[in-house]
Symmetry: C2
Subunit: 457 residues, 2 copies
């Protein structure tokens, strides 16, 4: 089955592909807000119906939260699974949107045409690149190129509470030769990427309690233990003066880069100054002696994501607070063990708490190890070549500082490798007002998947 007529069909059908995406984008499937639950159902129904139009036997599968959509179609060659999510982030603050978030538009901008609206890039637009590639293939060749499973989630933006149980209960059904995930970005404007390294994450929330109630700092200041002071001692001790994290055992399982990966990353020409300059910074703040890409892709971190204590309003209130809080997260790499680090962190903190203070840690916060894909399967190099054929620059194997737990679940629960390929750009405004997806991302994304399907089958 030849590729060229499929690519021609994709080009010819682009307007219709955009129109179908617009339909899906108009459904406000915000997963974190129960008020939008019916719209999540609606988005799942829309996908079931759209997959049916490809001849895929798809169904909505209820969970305690929002439904999954699972569809299968038989075929020759390898069995590929495609994952995407149909739910979107909330739209607050609404007043910062230039156009209504759920009234998507194709807009001309100085940088080219963009599809504007909530979910355009994360992840409805990306999800539809794969569906539209399949559609073109079907229309040209009368069948899809291989056996396919479609697996769409509706809770990705709200912590995926149903995902692991669902994957565990449907392990066999979700087994394939390779999982394809479209929820990442290009490496550079013209450089596609396959993410082969994802940092894991450990989240902790600390509460330190001193006095049993808020006190007046005139009456009690000097004699009463101030938990905010204790918290600053704890948090300021998380890094030493070289930027190294001080939690005992933290670096167990942190690998050094292989020479080949190091060489490849050096070839990417990462512009540290430009990357930091975009956000008003100039100097890498991580461990001494590490490159910028190492700091964000392959080195573990400890960050304060939030902290609060006492009076935080306008003016001044001389309160000596009863409690002080912080949210701290650790990004993990290699084989760092999240639960071992959690235990070590908690012990380190507890050891710093003086008499008259107590510390507690929130339960049920996230923990997941890093994912490092083995690129040994020839499918990786085949997909990389297919991407290189579509885009101006050759595709790169890259790391990602973020955590995309689904990739790890395919390995740990299903036993399948996962390939993370996506076409988002850095200025897509994910999770923010005025989210967009470049029409080029959508168009060349569809073409990329058509090429990858051809290459893998």
């Amino acid at each position: 089955m030849t590729l060229d007529p499929v690519l021609a069909r994709i080009d010819a059908d682009l307007d219709a592909s955009v129109a179908r995406l617009m339909e899906l984008l108009r459904i406000p499937s915000i997963s974190t807000d129960p008020a939008y639950a019916a719209h999540c159902q609606e988005a799942a129904d829309w996908l079931v119906e759209d997959l049916a139009s490809l001849g895929v036997a798809a169904e909505k599968r209820e969970t305690p939260g929002h439904p999954m959509v699972v569809g299968h179609i038989d075929g020759d060659g390898p069995h590929l699974l495609f994952y995407g999510h149909y739910d979107v982030q909330p739209v607050d603050p609404l007043e910062l949107w230039d156009t209504p978030p759920f009234e998507p538009e194709l807009q001309d901008t100085p940088k080219g045409k963009v599809i504007r609206g909530r979910g355009t890039s994360d992840d409805k637009g990306q999800l539809m690149t794969f569906v539209e590639a399949c559609r073109a293939w079907k229309e040209v060749h009368g069948a899809l190129p291989c056996k396919l499973t479609f697996f769409f989630e509706g809770e990705e933006e709200s912590g995926s509470p149903s995902l692991v149980p669902f994957m565990q209960e449907n392990r066999e059904e979700l087994t394939s030769d390779m999982a394809l995930i479209c929820d990442t970005g290009l490496y550079g404007h013209d450089t596609p990427a396959i993410v082969t390294m994802l940092r894991g994450m450990l989240q902790e929330e600390i509460t330190i309690t001193g006095p049993s109630k808020d006190l007046h700092s005139g009456m009690f200041g000097g004699i009463a233990m101030n938990p905010a002071r204790v918290l600053t001692k704890v948090l300021s001790s998380l890094h030493d003066e070289t930027g190294t994290v001080t939690v005992p055992g933290f670096y167990d399982g942190v690998p050094e880069l292989s020479n080949s990966v190091r060489a490849q990353w050096e070839g990417l020409g990462f512009d540290e100054k430009a990357f930091l300059g975009e956000v008003g910074l100039s100097e890498p703040a991580g461990e001494q002696g590490r490159t910028g890409l190492e700091m964000i892709w392959s080195r573990p971190t400890a960050e304060i994501n939030g902290m609060w204590s006492g009076y935080t309003g306008a003016g001044f209130k001389t309160v000596l607070p009863s409690k002080a809080h912080a949210k701290v997260s650790f990004r993990l790499v290699g084989t760092q063990d999240p639960e071992a680090i959690r235990a070590s962190f908690r012990k380190m903190v507890a050891d710093m708490i003086p008499t008259d203070c107590e510390v507690s840690f929130s339960e049920d916060l996230g923990a997941g190890p890093a994912s490092v894909m083995s690129t040994e399967s020839p499918m990786f190099d085949a997909a990389r070549q297919a991407l290189s054929d579509e885009w101006p620059n050759p595709a790169a194997y890259v790391g990602s500082g973020g955590s995309i737990p689904i990739a790890g679940y395919f390995k740990s629960i299903i036993g399948t490798d996962a390939m993370l390929i996506g076409f988002g750009r850095d200025d897509d405004q994910l999770h923010s007002p005025n989210e967009k997806y470049d029409l080029e991302s959508f168009h060349k994304g569809i073409r990329s998947w058509a090429r990858i399907l051809a290459a893998l089958t």
Copy 2:
């Protein structure tokens, strides 16, 4: 003019005194909230009228904020000035009040009768102890015992922005032989006190800015400077391991206690364990080698009153914040210079800020030196004896950890000594829901002022 019939009159007239106080308490004169400005006017009008009923020529004097009430009455003997404030704190959280804050009630409790409502203790109830003592004196003797000036403020609970200009502009009119201030408490349940040492205060608000906007800690964690981390370094360095404040020059002007004051304080039998036990603590947290009373009355402090950065809501958001904030206050003693300490603190902080972070400090936050009263005037010992005559235990000269700037202003602006006498108790719930003033505080407070007027004239 004899005292006994005045005391008898006070006892006989107590119900009417309470009823008058209730009228004033029903006026919701919350000074910090512009919505209550008309009620502040109403409270001032009420006081003008009430003073007129004593024969005092009083008037409401407008300021850029809420009005002052100033009244004069001529008489023989020394010229005394009495200061109190008619404004009250906000009442949030309203749902924690057992009875409506501005519908005052006389309630029976296991510890005795209390007047319940906002402003009962701070400061309308205390203010009226003096007015009612004058009323009884007038009714028994047909005249007040000496020349008197009444000076009531309506902005004490909102930082007194008009106070200093007003005192400067009306210096001559506010000059007297001694200023009496009723806005403090008893030392113990049955032990009255004259406060002769008040800590000063310096307030600072720090904002540290790192990246130009909030970042995703996956994409930027490790490479981007986190201002929350910088803030914890700054705040955790404010004290060394012995509890000593590390700001350079901080202890310049901090005196050691004289032997006589030390001996008197030791005689008070301050129960550190009980004091801390009330708020769930057990160990003094201040400088090593200092007594509990020194820590709260005569030693300077540095406290974190508030801090905030990043995401502080429910759940988790892996933000790498752009900004981190803290409110820090210093309690000052002796001749510590607030502005010199402000400058030294700011330099110390600025020196700790790395490249890629900026620090700014809020302007217009409070600063005032400590007040140490000279008790050389025989009026002090006379008032102390009068208080001792009224209460079960003899009166003490004490310090106060809080800052009552008005006391210092009488000295620095008017050139008058001030005597701080009040009848509040530790469980009065000042600034909190269910504020109360013991009926005994009110009754014996009125009697105390009658005795003091007799003793000073």
